[in-house]
């Protein structure tokens, strides 16, 4: 194992911003900042009361990202190497899995773990395990 491209300061700062976001949302309306859940509820607006905050949150998420793009002056700072086929498969597994499990990296990984939820901790261990395993198989075995 070689440590490579480690960016501790920006990682910690970004993490703190995400934590502040989650705390602000709970303070405002008592909701948990779980992105997969928010997307699921936006898809099924008749099933939830007060749908509006979810749209506002997602607009803010895109707005904050746009602001960063403008601030940094970098037109493209992501590299998406997965093939079109892999994107379709990965997207479908992500949507299906987070729906069945009731959360993703934000709802389970950040908010749930911060609330010391055993369920969220177990889910986080679960997706970390298969995430690491999948990358190992794709990069080092095939």
């Amino acid at each position: 194992m070689n440590i490579y491209n480690f960016t501790p300061a920006s990682a910690l700062l970004g993490g703190i911003l995400i934590g502040l976001s989650a705390v602000l949302l709970v303070a405002t309306n008592g909701k948990i900042a779980g992105i997969s859940g928010i997307v699921r509820e936006v898809l099924n607006p008749s099933a939830v009361k007060n749908i509006d905050w979810r749209f506002l949150f997602l607009m803010g998420l895109i707005g904050g990202s746009l602001f960063y793009r403008w601030l940094s002056g970098i037109e493209n700072s992501i590299s998406l190497e997965a093939s079109w086929f892999a994107i379709i498969v990965g997207g479908a597994l992500t949507g299906f899995g987070t729906a069945i499990s009731g959360g993703c990296t934000s709802g389970h990984g950040v908010c749930g773990v911060a609330r010391r939820s055993l369920r969220s901790f177990a889910a986080t261990m679960g997706f970390m395990f298969t995430g690491v395993t999948t990358v190992f198989v794709l990069r080092h075995m095939l």
Binding site: M1, G30, N50, I62, G64, L66, A86, G95, G97, R119
Partner: protein, 140 residues
């Protein structure tokens, strides 16, 4: 009005955090998951920062009688496990490892205009809809 500003600000902080930490970049996430390759531990520090702030902030905020603008605070977490929770998480992890996107960063990445971001999200929505009958059957 204040409520709208606060919710949008919360979303904006989330998006900003994903961009500042570069978690919006799938290559950075995959480099974290690639333990035996050139390993980039950054994601662990993102989680540490976010969980740390939330673990301190949630109990502080919940000392208020109720949220500032309606609703109720989330109920205390339940600890019972079930197969769906674990099975779903394992499936999600495979998708995460294939592309390097989870739902938040996939949405944030739209600002960089790659058609692959849109395709990922469309496919993710398809997966969520496909899970619906399963969820209804098991929850009734």
């Amino acid at each position: 009005m204040t409520r709208i500003i606060l919710v949008v600000s919360s979303g904006a902080l989330f998006g900003l955090g994903l961009c500042v930490s570069q978690m919006v970049d799938p290559a950075k996430v995959l480099a974290f998951l690639d333990l035996t390759g050139d390993w980039d531990p950054s994601l662990a520090l993102v989680m540490l920062g976010a969980v740390g702030v939330a673990a301190v902030g949630f109990p502080l905020v919940m000392t208020l009688p109720k949220p500032l603008f309606g609703g109720t605070f989330p109920a205390p977490s339940v600890s019972q496990m079930d197969g769906k929770l674990i099975f779903g998480a394992l499936i999600f992890g495979i998708g995460w490892g294939v592309v390097g996107f989870c739902p938040g960063p996939a949405i944030a990445s739209l600002v960089y205009g790659s058609p692959k971001s849109w395709l990922f999200l469309a496919s993710m929505v398809g997966g969520m809809l496909a899970a619906r009958p399963l969820l209804q059957r098991t929850s009734s």
